[in-house]
Amino acid sequence: MQGIRKLIASAAALLCVPALAIAQDAPIKIGVVSFLSGPAAGPFGVPARNAAEIMFEMINAGKVPAPYATKGLGGAKMQMSLVDESGGTTTQVTEFRNLVQRDNVDLVIGYISSGSCLGIAPVAEELKKLTVFFDCGTPRIFEERDYKYVFRTASTATMDSVGAALYVKDLKPNAKMIAGVNQNYAWGQDSWGDFELAMQQIIPGIKVATSQMPKLFAGQYNAEISTLLSSKADVIHSSFWDGDLEAFILQAGPRGLFKRSTVILTTGETAMYKLAAKIPDGVVIGARGPYGPYAPDNELNKWFSATFEDRYGVPPNYAAYQMAQAILGTKAAWEKAQAANGGKRPSQDQVIAAFENLTFVSPAGEVKMTNGKGHQAITGTAYGVTKKVGGKMTIDKIKRYPAEKVNPPDGVKAADWIKSGFKK
């Protein structure tokens, strides 16, 4: 049995081989965790894994444009240990410990689900292992406590909701009534909660017609669509993702929901190209940051989207961008630390010191690690509406919001910040 042999082998390794000084160019083992099965695999997990594969390969080959043209991390090759994020928190904590203590990875990049992130963060701290979250959205991680070893290179979900609210004001300043349809679990509840709060601040007196909360992966939304149609809301907010999002679009389209109300799909970008034919013009599309169609027109982005599309046949979606961003952030921090260390391989503490408050560029533009005491990134965001040009899906009326306008200042909880009218 391979498991037992592996168990014995690693036990022996742990007992007999004391931690030797690591050679300068020994490969850097990086645990990469992403959904490879279940409903989150298609829209997020697999594109993110694909992005990781491209980035690892290209970085190791030194083919990434400036400022990331050096090979590997400061010359050392990156080596991937891939793990599926499915199976629940207990499984994930177990696998995280295996990565760190059995496979001896140097750092871990991963986690899409907020539940995973909340569960992993304290363990990363306990095991003193640098861990970079690339996608999960909950603001609770750095609101609830401080971390030394945990970083997140993507903005929190607060940004999506606040950005959506700001865009509503810009697009439909006279909106009187809003409605929501969100999945009944933390992500959906928080997204709607923040959006509702933000709307009340931005357009005082706005009313909530109905807030639909179907079960996650319900798949059949006729009744919800009926209530939304009857509600006559000016704006409908949805943070649905993947299968649910697509089913919702497919079912709501023929019933005229998109014509009756302005619909905001905060993660709509993942479905935008696939369902181009089913999404009418004028639907507000979010990408959880300046990713995909909202990514800036710079060399890095051109290279990334072209390389990704070349390899996988589809443009990278926001999960792929976020993964690339996390890897590049790590590379930036690592090499900054190495430079400070006189060109020698940096220790983990040195990498962490370099990572804190780092500002780096990714295909999505500038990323500032200013929140969570220098561990939480803020980025700008953008929203726009769909518009078909010659049968091809494009985004029109793009509005960009700078990072500081859609993210709370460091040390302020998202909900407090919104309630205070975005001050404090």
Partner: protein
């Protein structure tokens, strides 16, 4: 009459665990500790399965145990690991006592499905509780043992010691219980309830008692899992979690109180190996393993040991 070797084997396992603990790699300690926590739940399912009952909702009590432990820490800053576990056990047992009046009337698939429905209602309630972190759950405070928090590199070992001792005591008590007239009634209930009644025993009462014991064990396991993993979420009550426990029960077999812990450990190893060697198709490996056990070892992994002992 053969003498009863189970207590001695249990004792030997405990000694080995405690003695070898400091030399076992940390990740393996964690794997073992989680196996012990799940093993406690499965020990309860073993009692029910001996009565012919399969609960598709045992995760209910696992989750109650975990949330009790987590909330005591969150609300009252209780951090004694034994207090947390015992509290989880008591709350689970009391809940089971109340629900038992309803569930002890059910048999076969209906028992399973009703317990499933109840656990899913708890899942729904927890997902709706935004103050408890909804589906994301929340972190459990780092716990202490008799007020002491061991040094970082000894924390895992300390948790293992607590888990091993608790599991040892639980296994011993259940072993003894199964030999009492009430505990030994289980196979009779499974075989022929009419005869049980006409012998002057109440199958419903026996099932109620067993149900409470099983829930108490699940609560204990949940409390242990919560303090070990450090994070709890409503998925602990989801039907897939119950499914995993049943999976381990069948994998282990009902031959001995040692089997659940062994089964849980082997399940943990299969799962982690499957994650490791085929991250994209680990479900297939898991399903294949279950199928193989059912086909080739109809009475569970435990039959391997029994056969060896007989020769």
């Amino acid at each position: 009459m053969t003498s009863d070797r189970t207590p001695r084997i249990l004792g030997a396992i405990l000694v080995v665990l405690l003695a070898a603990g400091p030399f076992v790699p940390q990740w393996a300690i964690f794997l073992i500790t989680i196996a012990l926590a799940k093993g406690l739940v499965v020990l309860g399912l073993l009692i029910l399965l001996r009565c012919g009952l399969v609960s598709f909702g045992q995760a209910l009590y696992y989750c109650i145990g975990a949330y009790t432990a987590g909330m005591l820490g969150r609300l009252f800053e209780v951090d004694g690991v034994l207090t947390l576990m015992l509290a989880g056990m008591v709350v689970a047992a009391v809940t089971a006592y109340v629900l038992g009046f309803l569930l002890a009337r059910y048999r076969g698939i209906f028992f399973g499905l009703l317990s499933l429905a109840v656990s899913m209602i708890l899942y729904g309630l927890l997902v709706k509780s935004e103050t408890l972190g909804s589906s994301d759950g929340f972190n459990v405070l780092p716990s202490t043992l008799f007020g002491i928090r061991p040094a970082d590199e000894w924390v895992r070992y300390a948790v293992l010691v607590v888990a091993s001792v608790v599991a040892f005591v639980a296994a011993l008590l259940v072993h003894r219980y199964l030999k009492t007239p009430l505990g030994s009634l289980a196979p009779a209930i499974k075989d022929n309830e009419i005869r049980v009644e006409y012998m002057g025993a109440s199958a419903r009462y026996a099932i109620h008692v067993n149900y409470v014991i099983a829930a108490a064990l699940a609560g204990l396991g949940g409390g242990l899992a919560a303090t070990t993993v450090g994070h709890i979420d409503p998925e602990m009550a989801y039907w897939t979690t119950s499914g995993e426990f049943i999976f381990i029960t069948i994998l282990a077999g009902t031959g001995s109180v040692i089997a659940p812990f062994l089964g849980a450990l082997i399940f943990g190893i299969i799962q982690t190996v499957a994650f490791d060697i085929s991250p994209n198709t680990w479900q297939m490996v898991l399903g294949g393993a279950l199928l193989a056990v059912i086909v080739f070892l109809p009475t569970g992994l435990w039959s391997l040991f029994r056969r060896r002992r007989a020769t």
